[in-house]
Symmetry: C2
Subunit: 408 residues, 2 copies
């Protein structure tokens, strides 16, 4: 038996693998795709890494993209309605959004350079027991395939049985960056959100536009319109939707230059948010730990999934470095250690996509538009979801927070 | 409403109160006894504070007893049987045992000097709801009276329904301290343990002798013999028991000088170990947190109760300083934060008093007698019970630990 086996070469698997390699632990990562297949495939997401994640990247020695060039500094909010609100919020340190088809292969190459083993082969749930005989511990770090079924869904933490948003995320040219460079979070009440994210991709510094469409709302059509059938019609529909719902993004668009950067640079779909058990016991008595999407799936509306996966991998890795007895006590330690943040990510995200929006969330957003300290706290809490949930878990908490900021 | 109300002026209540006062939080401590009544009463325990607790005392500004004079440096083990084992283990930093009738009144005086309110009045479970209207949060920090009933006993963490040891703890003159100064832990297989603890009391530097009698074993009689009826007979019985079962303690006794330091300096009884829920919701919707004995009662055999209560109070206090929303989320944070150590105290203690002793515990004790590093780790882990439980939670863990120390 040797070291740790990680199924999945996403951000969770790679951050865990890199952390362990940094301490000389033997690690094998299994993936169903080569780095080249990943790099040449469809864009897997449009996520940004917030500064807590960037800090982990620094500690892992994979902070390859100068934050001054690739980073951004906050959120520009727009909330539509009869009296639209428009206000910024700033981070304490920059976030960074990189196309994962660039990011993940680079980290995989770091991992292999540092002595990590990388094996391309599809692993399904039925294969895990055999794998568990080969490694001291097997970690499941992919939500793909049949893996989710290994970890029962927790009804108490999974309030939705259907997607609350239909998604259409793509990379575009022809959108000028905001000043200062930031993500625009534009809300069209009743219809959903549009996130405009300054992202670095194969085409250079582009803009990811992620439509979060409320089912039945006016941008759901986008999530079901095929780009490949007629690119020009698709792009026209995107522009029309932005012009009607998201004026602060539309004003930065040059319609003549506006286009998707390529047919692979679009992702449409939807997720059912869910929280699964942290670990499972195999029939042979060995324990397997879940990390990332196979543990918790969140809607991408506040871009927390990858950050949560990285955090969760980090805490798992630290626990491995401290205790090499991979039994139920070990698994419970991991669960307890990451619970506050990982569950806060899920609870907070689920609150953001509730229809209708909860009054205390609207109250907080309203206060943000009038009080820069509140807006900055909310914005910086994208790195500290458990602190956000300290503010949003109940209407009383929001009220106490606002009172503490003189907004009673 | 003002600040935090703490019911109980034991180590948990006082450490919590002092921590909060150090940050300017208004605190009222309720007790059914004045400091004078406590000082003049029966000895409440024979506990030592290990260095993690001493460090908290330093941070609280109540480290009044010079550790060079009042401290001790490790454990002298004796395990009887056909081939007795005798070996020491050393702490990384000293422990300290003070008579709580000296210790608690001094801390109470510090608390009041620092602006804490102290109110002498008996509080029962029925009074807590009224108290909860007066304070932002009520903390129950006493196991006395009816309080336990507020917090359901957790069957999953409470393996025993009856005491596993009968207790007879008292302060004695005529016992020379060990060299280097330390606690002697003497085990008479099948009969129980005798702990000899260098303690500072009203009579100066004396020795606490705590008999931990297995029910039906040869020292159970001590726990039911009344000192007051005939002091000389009682003391003779104590001496006889020590001479028959605990030679390494007996050899330090001067029989001519041996005597209990006073009729109030003896405590006989027994405890049923139990773990209770961390918090409860009152009918008025407010939450109340348990700390110390009302949360977990452990047998005193390894002297962890007070240290665990202090730790638990500290973690509760830190959570109060971070989050003043005293709702269920707050309570769950407290529970999660202290769970690993507080449950380890309980699990480890319950393992130590299991009859017959589990083979992997005996294996570890045997290894300690042959390997100083193992003995020192076990001994220093009196400050880190969760690390002890990392070693003792399962036979596999003990084996891995011993293998890691070349004892395979």
């Amino acid at each position: 038996m040797e070291g740790i086996g990680i199924v999945g070469a996403g951000v969770a698997g790679l951050h865990l693998g890199l952390l362990l390699r940094g301490h000389g632990v033997p690690v094998t990562i299994y993936s169903d795709r080569t780095a080249e297949q990943l790099a040449g495939g469809r864009i897997p997401n449009t996520v940004a890494h917030h500064h807590a994640t960037v800090e982990r990247e620094r500690l892992l020695g994979v902070d390859h993209w100068d934050i001054e060039e690739y980073g951004y500094f906050g959120h520009h909010h727009y909330i539509g309605g009869p009296q639209p609100l428009r206000f910024p919020g700033f981070f304490a340190a920059p976030s960074r959004a990189l196309d994962y088809r660039i990011y993940l292969p680079r980290l995989l190459s770091d991992f292999v350079e540092r002595g990590g083993e990388f094996e391309v082969r599809p692993v399904q749930a039925v294969d895990v027991e055999e794998l568990s005989q080969r490694h001291d511990l097997v970690v499941i770090a992919t939500g793909r395939g049949s893996m989710g079924a290994m970890f029962p869904r927790r009804a108490d933490k999974s309030p939705y049985d259907t997607p609350q948003r239909k998604l259409c995320g793509g990379l575009y040219e022809g959108v000028a960056h905001s000043e200062p460079k930031g993500v625009t979070m534009s809300i069209s009440p009743g219809h959903g959100e549009l996130l405009a994210i300054p992202m670095y991709s194969f085409a250079g510094h582009v803009t990811a536009l992620l439509f979060e469409a409320v089912p039945g709302g006016e941008f759901e059509v986008l999530t079901a319109t095929r780009y490949d059938d007629d690119p020009a019609t698709f792009e026209k529909l995107v522009l029309k939707t932005i012009s009607e719902h998201h004026p602060t993004i539309f004003e930065r668009i040059d319609p003549a230059a506006f286009r998707l950067t390529g047919p692979q640079d679009l992702l449409q779909g939807a997720v059912v948010p869910s929280v699964r058990e942290d670990y499972t016991r195999l029939p042979n008595g060995r324990y397997v730990v879940a990390v990332g999407d196979v543990h918790t799936v969140v809607d991408p509306v506040i871009g927390q999934g990858a950050n949560s996966a990285s955090y969760s991998a980090w805490e798992l890795g630290q626990t491995i470095l401290e205790d090499q007895n991979f039994d139920e006590r070990f698994c419970k330690k991991v669960a307890r250690r990451r619970e506050d943040r990982v569950h806060a990510v899920s609870d907070w995200t689920n609150l953001m996509i509730r229809t209708p929006p909860p009054p205390h969330l609207l109250e907080l957003l309203g206060a943000m538009s009038q009080n820069q300290a509140i807006a900055d706290t909310f914005t910086d809490n994208f790195s500290y979801p458990e602190r956000q949930w300290d503010i949003l878990a109940t209407p009383e908490r929001t009220r106490n927070f606002l009172t503490g900021h003189g907004m009673s």
